[in-house]
């Protein structure tokens, strides 16, 4: 049994940003490519605007569905400060993809906590392989901010060198038909980032 080729991806964000759908598309594609895939997600209370994570692991044979500390090959943060919250899970030479987008939690909105400043600069000081862009803005310009998850997914697939797969067919299957075109556009922009 070879466990050494297992890759680990952690997607972190805020409930409602579409991290689970992005993880599902990714997992489905990886299964089609012949990998053993494990994915783990959290449902329920935290989905209502709380901090959420999904774990995706793939390889020849994967045991645990959970990414352990300092073992993520890629950490995709759908929101800026979530990148900092989960940074301990990124490998030393891992890739960090950050949506340069802020969502204020209730304590921040109420003024009982401050949204940190210079987050990207702090991340840059800690991570060498850092990719930052505003997926929310890209998605909004395309006409639907909700496609930001697919922009980020495209970028992740490029970072993991998984572009050879027919992702369009996976998207077609998992995304409702009327949103397919805009999501393909979002995906292709993500691939180019």
């Amino acid at each position: 049994m070879n466990n050494n080729d297992t890759k680990s991806i952690l997607l972190v964000g805020v409930g409602g940003q579409g991290t689970i759908l992005a993880s599902k598309i990714l997992s489905e594609g990886l299964v089609r490519k012949g990998y053993d895939v494990k994915m783990s997600e959290i449902h329920g209370m935290s989905q209502r605007g709380g901090s959420v994570t999904t774990h995706v692991r793939y390889g020849t044979k994967v045991d645990s569905p959970i990414v352990s500390e300092k073992s993520a090959d890629v950490l995709v943060a759908f929101e800026k400060i979530e990148a900092v919250r989960w940074l301990d899970y990124l490998k030393d030479d891992g890739i960090l993809i950050v949506n340069d987008f802020e969502i204020y939690s209730l304590p921040v909105l109420m003024g009982t906590a401050d949204y940190p400043k210079d987050v990207i600069e702090k991340l840059r000081a800690n991570v060498s392989k850092l990719k930052v862009f505003n997926a929310a803005k890209i998605a909004e310009d395309l006409g639907n901010i909700k496609t930001q998850n697919i922009v980020l997914l495209g970028s992740l697939i490029k970072a993991m060198n998984l572009t050879s797969l027919n992702w369009e067919s996976v998207l077609k299957e998992l995304i409702p038909a009327k949103f397919y075109d805009i999501n393909i556009k979002a995906f292709n922009i993500g691939l180019s980032l």
Partner: protein
Amino acid sequence: MSKRICMGNEAIALGAIAAGVKVVTGYPGTPSTEIIETFVHEKNPNVNVQWSTNEKVALEVAAGAAYAGARAMVTMKQVGLNVASDPLMCLSYIGVEGGLVVAVADDPGPWSSQTEQDTRSFARHANLPVFDPSSPEEAYEMVQEAFNLSEEFKLPVILRPTTRVCHASATVRLKDDVKQITTLGFEKRPEWCIFPSLSYVKHGELEIKQNTLSNKFDTSIFNKIFKGSRKGIAVSGVSYLYLKEVIKEFNLDVSIFKIGTPYPLPAGLAEKFVSTVDSILVIEELDPIVEEQLLILAAGRIPIFGKNTDDTPYNGEFSFEVIKKALFGYLGIENKEEPKEELPQMPMRPPVLCGGCPHRASFYAAKIATKDFKKPIYCGDIGCYTLGNAAPLNMVDTCLCMGAGITVAQGLALAEPGTKCLAFIGDSTFFHTGIPGVINAVYNNTDITIVVLDNRTTAMTGCQPHPGTGKTAMGEPAKALDIEAILRACGVEEIYTVNPFDYSESVEVFKKAVSFNGPSAVIAKAPCITLIKMPPTVHRVNESCIGCLNCINELGCPAMTPNEKGFVVINESTCTDCGLCANVCPVDAIQRGERNG
């Protein structure tokens, strides 16, 4: 045989279908909900699937089906088993004819639960066998074996997946054929009626069955010994997968006893393990079920480490890190923890009521209506609306368990006469266990105000139908039970139904209901935002905003954010045009407008 990526809960449902299950019941509860949702999605014509009013009802309906020889399954979360414990305890005596699998999802962490109780302890308490899957693949196989075992021993069998099995996805090999079950129907026998004299006999039989079950489990494919060094590890549940990774990562030499049936422990296999190792570290989340049985079996012959020696924690989820620490300590390996880079602490991101959530409007109207009363107490219940406890609403002072808001409010009112106690309860929770509390308040004429937050769905678990929605689990039309009529039939005389987004009307209604001396009720009726189509209009903040932030500080709606100049901006992608914010703006700067795009 086909391969499919399945969530654990899906695998459990698909396994049950392959096993020929005929009747499936349950009440939604994270992390168990998707088991029944999979049956709904699969639309298998041979399976009768129901959402039940509560877990006790669900288990009893499933038991009835199993009495008649059908294979039946009931699903719930761990705290649901508390509600269903009465029929469960009795069923272990009475038994079943057809296979009955009680699928109870545990939530170590907990991620989405009131307790971290361990259903394996419940299994031991009820003298019932329990399967503890480590993965979705194993859960698929175990559920099928659980049906066979249930029929062989004429006992309900518990399947206990945890969050990391329920909500993990993996590639599962699915059988193409479905087991054909032929039933003779219900056979009338005196043993179906529990009486003290019968219970005495059945109790004795049940104790004997524990030994037979234990022997049976010695040859179960879910229990295995992997021989290595004389350092032993006994492991149950998902921890087995983390353990495998720690062992591979650090190339460790240990003997492993992998246990898929933690109660009753396979005693023969356990004895074999005890006799081939010098010591055992037990790795299992939550209660020391395996550990205590091993301690008894080993009887001091070899040391057993685990919770009794503070080497593993009782609370919280296990992980690679937790197991690595315990294992390194056990093997005497120095655990060199690299110093972590100093990163600033990020502000908390607790879950919140959605933008446009009708619960916010109800809570706010109740808050304003009761502000002149002396110390009103707001009792909450289980659902999305528990989130009303957070600032700025601060409208949930108590939350205990399903249905307890209405009853705890009565106790508070008795202890503090003259204090106005409001009990908030969701529509699904009202049907679940709310109604007996209403009757109790009327019967004893206790001065409380029941507030039914009727959002027309079971929202927290992902919007399942309930008896008030007019739809069955399968989406077919059903009689929609009228909450107001039920309250009236229970004897409540002072009842108001209001749209919580009608702010001034709601405040008036709450004032009247709370002022009433005796049991009163307000039904705040507006659909959950996940059920509505976004309207073509939104609310917008115009240039007259003075930046007082009163809207944000009063309501805490996540659709509202201050901009860099300190004025409020409403996010159009999350604004449902509920208009609640317009009521709290002192300068009328929030107005309805056309939605962009």
